[in-house]
Subunit: 251 residues, 2 copies
């Protein structure tokens, strides 16, 4: 009723969830941040295995909510969380998104600063829904979200990186945004691409001066960005390298 | 899945929802703010009438969500909203809350500024849930919420008023908070109590200097506030007057 829960969206390939251990660790951390007991890993694994039999290649979503409470905001003393494990078809995107890059809409909606919820993949996602309603052109698969102060935060469904020289930057998400697993992995892979990873804020004008920009999440992998609003962004070599790295080392 | 909807919580007495027309008007406005088609008034009235037969004295809650979409944040071209109309028992509070006033916990959680959602009674209520988890003393039925800048906003479930001289103040809710129907009515009733209503922000130190403080919502009516954190607040005559006015003029 109140979006009081967390979720993960994952890629299942040949019956196995990519980066499952990392995904479970994030789920655990997010549950802990909201004081929701996290389902046991083995329970979720059994349920995923069951789904894998009928749909080995799909998107898997896990939703954990605090569970049944009363009408108001009070949480009962003893509450048992609800979990939903479901599959969805892989979204069909044109192949050139991944190869030639995508165009981003710059969302008017600005994300608010709520340090208590920042980074968590929780279910209070009205901001994302409203931002996603701002455009409908199918050639523009993602929107760029800024915070109230004008700092770049993320896409509506993906994290964002920019390269400037040999520095690979992604926004600090301690005030808002969702800290995705692939973002974390890309930061770890940066040195393998001779890049220095850096978590720090940048503005839209700074982003438009980037030498390369790309998006990431567990379903799309990595998409280069070739345009932001009306501004062309140069394509670079890192996006393709990260595509390969994300796919090669799946734990 | 994403808290993408709105709700109303109302008092049913003798089979009639208090201030139904006002409640429906708020529901309509909130739906419109999120671009969700609002169910017809007559449909809701039929459903409420049906519930009234078995439980004429209760809390009625209406929830309208955007309806079934896909996995992601995109809204399908054609979507038909879901509605839930349910009843809940009247909460049982000690009679002295209403007569002698209540004590408020000062919540550590600060509300974030999201002008796009401010005022709306939407379903992204994790802030309220987390704030409500901060205390459990049953003698403290409500928590006071401030925003990130330290301005007083509301209670976790009620709006707040303070009186200073002949001015009756309630916080401006254009950046955060829920603009409840009883708040609106109290602002309208102020002149009948020889008070000048004013919507403007005040800080916690200003609130602690108030000559009278009270809370309102459609379930509790009006509760005087006798204590905020460790600070005693003087009781005044306006809370009782407003209790009477809210109950006497129910449209």
């Amino acid at each position: 009723m109140y979006g009081d829960g967390v979720f993960r969206t994952m890629r299942m390939r040949d019956g196995r969830v990519n980066c499952w251990l990392g995904q479970y660790r994030k789920l655990e951390a997010d549950c802990q941040a909201l004081d929701i007991p996290c389902p046991a890993r083995s329970t979720l694994e059994q349920e995923i295995d069951l789904l894998a039999r009928s749909t080995p290649d799909c998107v898997v979503k896990i939703v954990v909510s605090r569970g049944e409470g009363g009408r108001g905001y009070g949480v009962p003393d003893s509450v048992s969380p609800n979990r939903v494990v479901l599959t969805a078809p892989l979204p069909i995107y044109p192949e050139n998104f991944r190869r030639d890059g995508v165009s981003l809409h710059v969302c008017e909606l600005r994300l608010c600063h709520q340090p208590r919820l920042a980074g968590i993949k929780h279910l209070n996602r009205l901001e994302n829904v409203l931002a996603r309603m701002e455009w409908s052109d199918p050639d523009t698969p993602e929107g760029l979200m800024l915070d109230a102060e004008g700092w770049v935060v993320e896409g509506t469904m993906a994290n964002i990186f920019m390269r400037q020289g040999n520095t690979l930057l992604t926004p600090d998400l301690s005030a808002c945004g969702v800290a995705g697993l692939q973002r974390e992995r890309i930061l770890q892979f940066a040195p393998q691409c001779d890049l220095v990873p850096e978590v720090s804020n940048f503005s839209l004008p700074m982003l438009l001066q980037a030498e390369e920009v790309f998006l990431c999440n567990s379903v799309i992998g990595v998409w280069p960005v070739r345009q932001i609003g009306a501004h062309a962004i140069p394509l670079g070599a890192i996006a393709a390298q990260m595509q390969g790295l994300l796919e090669s080392e799946i734990v």
